[in-house]
Amino acid sequence: MPTQALGWGTTTPSQTLEPIRFERRDLRADDVAIRITYAGICHSDLHHCRGDWGNPRMPAIPGHEIVGVVTAVGPQVTAHKVGDTVAVGTIVDSCLQCRECTDGWEQFCLEGATYTYGHPDRQDGTVTMGGYSDHIVTREHFVFAVPEGLDPARTAPLLCAGITSWSPLRQYKEHVAPGKQVAVAGIGGLGHLGVKFAAALGAEVTAITTSEGKAAEAQRLGAHHVLISSDKEAMKAARSRFDFILDTIPVAHDVQPYLGLLRRAGRMVIVGAIAPLPPIHGGMLISNNRAIGGSGVGGVPETVEMLEFCAKHQLYPEVETIRMEEVNHAWERMERGDVRYRFVIDMSTLEQPA
């Protein structure tokens, strides 16, 4: 029997959310039912509901940074049991057969990965509904154990912001290691975790920011140095310095001033600017054998690795916890950049509408 769910979402493209009742599917053999305790707020949630990336399937219940407690499991589930603290991220299904899935890159599934909200389910075609809700039913493979010692109240943003900044640091692990110079451009939801991860991985970390005001803050997060990108002299002095640059700037920008900061065989990876970028000069890549790449979320094995790393290092996102009914105000603040660095909804505040 499908279950009745309550969430916050929208029935028309909008950035104003309201309580919505909907159904969750009955447990399949490999499904896990989860009572959601915390849901992180990601900028994608807003883009999706507002229709910035195309008309969303309705109703739209956003949220892909999910933490909760298992309430029931399908007969074939072995990895989780009732009472476990678990997490769900941006992907809830994929074919699990193709070369990408079997290599642990489920996000590149050749049949297409199923996103946590706004996407048709692979089996019954129903639209997936995200984590701004009281419970969720998810295929076991995409449910992560929250390791012992990791505070569930601060874990949710790891499932999108965390893995998005973690994955490139691990893909380029020879560039991000003790003795290596790593820079993180843009200190927001992604960047603040990039600084923490890179420092915990042993690299010497420089935060690159436009604002002097963020310098002290970046150092508090663990950056060893701060480079102000508007300071021409400082940027010139930093030429060919870095082995790796994590570029989390969320809007289109000229990447060349940053590319010039890469040393021989250095790598710069874009995780924020999902947009057309101004032309780059081939000579900028050819000199010093540089490369610019991109990276989005991460697969299941990388996510498991990240959660265990965070538990071991007690590494957490900086979060501001809100009540469910404060979500619309939180979205407004997120749009203004007024958040350090991630909002998390305490789902125990989700009240039945009158």
């Binding site: 790598r267 000579g283 610019i292």
Partner: protein, 348 residues
């Protein structure tokens, strides 16, 4: 005392190539004197002659794809003796102490000296390239030319060869790897041969069906016409590596879309702006766009040995010095398969 040497070069950006009398330095302790038998013609020679990059010094003797026979060595030279076959590429000196030199990537040394239109680090003289009958180069920048290579055809390996060889290994090219080569010219045709010899499955990506047939003869397993939208769509996410040898400004997006998740496109030709970079195309498939500049000395020797082992030679058209101007005109029109080599008369 210096050595009077016959050469061919230009005296100004708008001057044609003409015979020039130059002096080669007397041997220093670590120098190798080489009688040049052949020198390849690279498109850079023309760009440099015309000062397209604003770094030219005149008079200029171009040429950085040099092969020949050692005629004399300085007292400190240990790896060469008169009569040995030798090869010189784009570089003739560097500081030899920086991290790049220590790592064998002399091409990035801030004190690196180009084979022509460079400034000698010791006497401040202007360096002259391989369009000449002899050259004198520090031993550290001279490679051994294996006996198995045909000296008349080997010269283009020193620039076109190393430029395409260098990126293949770092990006994992080998058996099971799918490589697409964009652009069938001096660089591209070497890319096809080298990637094939490394065991990869090689596809030529070209705008013209005629070049497709040529590419198969060179060793390409498959041809993809970039002007055919259906074929391009069918090839989406097919390649592990795209070796992009296109020498001009172009839209890279259609080629980037051909790379698999975690795939790479490496730019070796276009020293110009590139259009079509999209953060989404990179991030949604974890792709990278890389650049690669020639190669260092250890890698260049490795490439020559690899070519000898696999009997890989560039396709060349051999010309006489009097025909250099005509060859430059033809190269500009793309009328060469695939590299001109000047026969400088030096006995092999």
């Amino acid at each position: 005392m210096t050595q009077p040497t016959r050469a061919y070069g230009v005296t100004a950006p708008d001057a044609p190539v003409a015979p020039l009398a130059i002096e080669r330095r007397n041997l220093r302790e670590d120098d190798v004197a080489i009688r040049i038998t052949h020198c390849g013609i690279c498109h850079s020679d023309l760009h440099m002659a015309r000062n397209d990059w604003g770094m030219s010094l005149y008079p200029m003797v171009p040429g950085h794809e040099i092969v020949g026979i050692v005629t004399a060595v300085g007292p400190g030279v240990t790896r060469f003796a008169p009569g040995d076959r030798a090869a010189v590429g784009c570089l003739v000196d560097s500081d030899r102490t920086c991290n790049h030199c220590q790592a064998g990537h002399e091409q990035f040394c801030p004190e690196m000296v180009f084979t022509y239109s460079g400034i000698d680090r010791h006497d401040g003289s202007v360096t002259y390239g391989g369009y000449s009958e002899a050259v004198t180069v520090s031993e550290a920048f001279v490679c051994r030319l294996p006996q198995a290579l045909d000296i008349a055809r080997a010269a283009p390996l020193l620039c076109a060869g190393i430029t395409t060889y260098s990126p293949l290994k770092p990006f994992g090219v080998g058996p099971g790897h799918k490589v697409g080569v964009v652009g069938l010219g001096g660089l591209g045709h070497m890319g096809v041969k080298l990637a094939r010899a490394m065991g990869a499955e090689v596809t030529m990506i070209t705008t013209s069906p005629e070049k497709g047939a040529d590419a198969r003869e060179l060793g390409a397993h498959d041809v993809l016409l970039s002007t055919d939208p259906n074929a391009m769509a069918a090839a989406a996410e097919r390649f592990d590596l795209i070796l992009n040898t296109s020498p001009v400004r172009h839209d890279i997006a259609p080629y980037l879309g051909l790379t698999k998740p975690l795939g790479t496109m490496v730019i070796v030709g276009a020293i110009s702006e590139l259009d079509g970079l999209h953060g989404g195309a990179l991030a949604m498939r974890n792709r990278i766009v890389a650049g690669s500049l020639i190669g260092g000395l250890p890698e260049t020797q490795e490439m020559l040995d690899f070519c000898a082992e696999h009997s890989i030679h560039p396709e060349v058209e051999i010309i006489q010095p009097a025909d250099i101007n005509t060859a430059w005109d033809r190269m500009e029109r793309g009328d060469v398969r695939y590299r001109f080599v000047i026969d400088l008369g030096g006995q092999a």
